[in-house]
């Protein structure tokens, strides 16, 4: 069971795998241990549910990755750097999405005099921008070294 789960984890995009695969495997192992004393029919039901969940997850994450890479990656970053690292591309796309979301919420809050909310969204936007800068600097550094 564990081997099958590990193989299926490889179907996720690399960025997702690097962030979650170890945790997912640990969680799966905890669940499997819990089911160890159940009748075999329940173990089969458990395995089928896990495989079904993984397949749905793989489809969703691959779709998000494909759409995110195509729509959100600044062309300049990839072209200048020559770096084609899926993990960084995906995270950059996600961070840009977060920046846009929090920026629009900040503007909306200020327009409606909801200053506490504006402060929180501005702080979240700052965090996303800071991480984005670090990632972009890292890509440019790699490109210069290459």
């Amino acid at each position: 069971m564990k081997r099958l789960f590990q193989v299926m984890l490889r179907l996720y995009p690399k960025s997702f795998r690097s962030r979650f695969s170890r945790e997912m495997l640990t969680t799966f192992e905890d669940l499997r241990r819990e089911k160890a004393n159940c009748r075999s029919i329940w173990q089969i039901v458990f395995l089928l549910r896990e495989i079904g969940g993984l397949l749905r997850g793989v489809c969703a994450e691959q779709f998000r990755f494909a759409v995110g890479s195509r729509q959100n990656l600044p062309a300049a970053v990839g072209a200048e750097s020559g770096v084609n690292d899926g993990s960084n591309r995906s995270e950059i796309a996600e961070l840009e999405e977060r920046v846009r979301f929090h920026l629009s919420q900040t503007v909306d809050c200020i327009a409606n005099h909801r200053f506490e909310g504006a402060r929180i969204h501005a702080a979240e936007e700052d965090r996303a921008r800071a991480r984005l800068l670090v990632l972009q600097a890292s890509i440019h550094r790699q490109a210069n070294e290459g």
């Binding site: 945790e23 640990t26 969680t27 896990e50 409606n112």
Partner: protein, 117 residues
């Protein structure tokens, strides 16, 4: 505070899916790691909803990207058991959803009473 919370994220926010609502609710009182989250979601839903590992981590991925939850370092657990906790933005979003559900419940109760009267 409630007034501010319910208006901050905006009335256009989409309703949360049941798994996401349950995950946010589970993290509302304390940080939890994957397995603890799955068991708590199961208990919260009266054993009606059993999330698979793939579904849970797909939701965690989205919630992290939205800034509604964040990683939480616990010293007393192994490094493969990453805990998560609700951020302020996540708490606000959960409160907004609770307000939305309360309004629906109130309206439904009122209509039931009216039809019975």
């Amino acid at each position: 505070m409630r007034h501010v919370v319910s208006r901050t994220i905006g009335s256009k926010a989409k309703p949360l899916s049941e798994p996401v609502f349950l995950i946010l609710t589970s993290l509302a009182d304390q940080p939890r790691h994957g397995y603890a989250l799955l068991k708590d979601v199961e208990n919260l839903s009266g054993h009606q909803i059993r999330l698979s590992t793939g579904t849970l981590y797909g939701a965690i991925h989205r919630l992290l990207n939205d800034g509604w939850i964040e990683r939480f370092e616990q010293e007393d657990v192994s490094r493969d058991k990453q805990a998560y906790r609700l951020t302020r933005a996540g708490r606000m979003r959960l409160q907004l959803e609770l307000d939305r559900l309360k309004n629906i419940t109130k309206a439904a109760s009122a209509r039931l009473r009216a039809s019975e009267a």
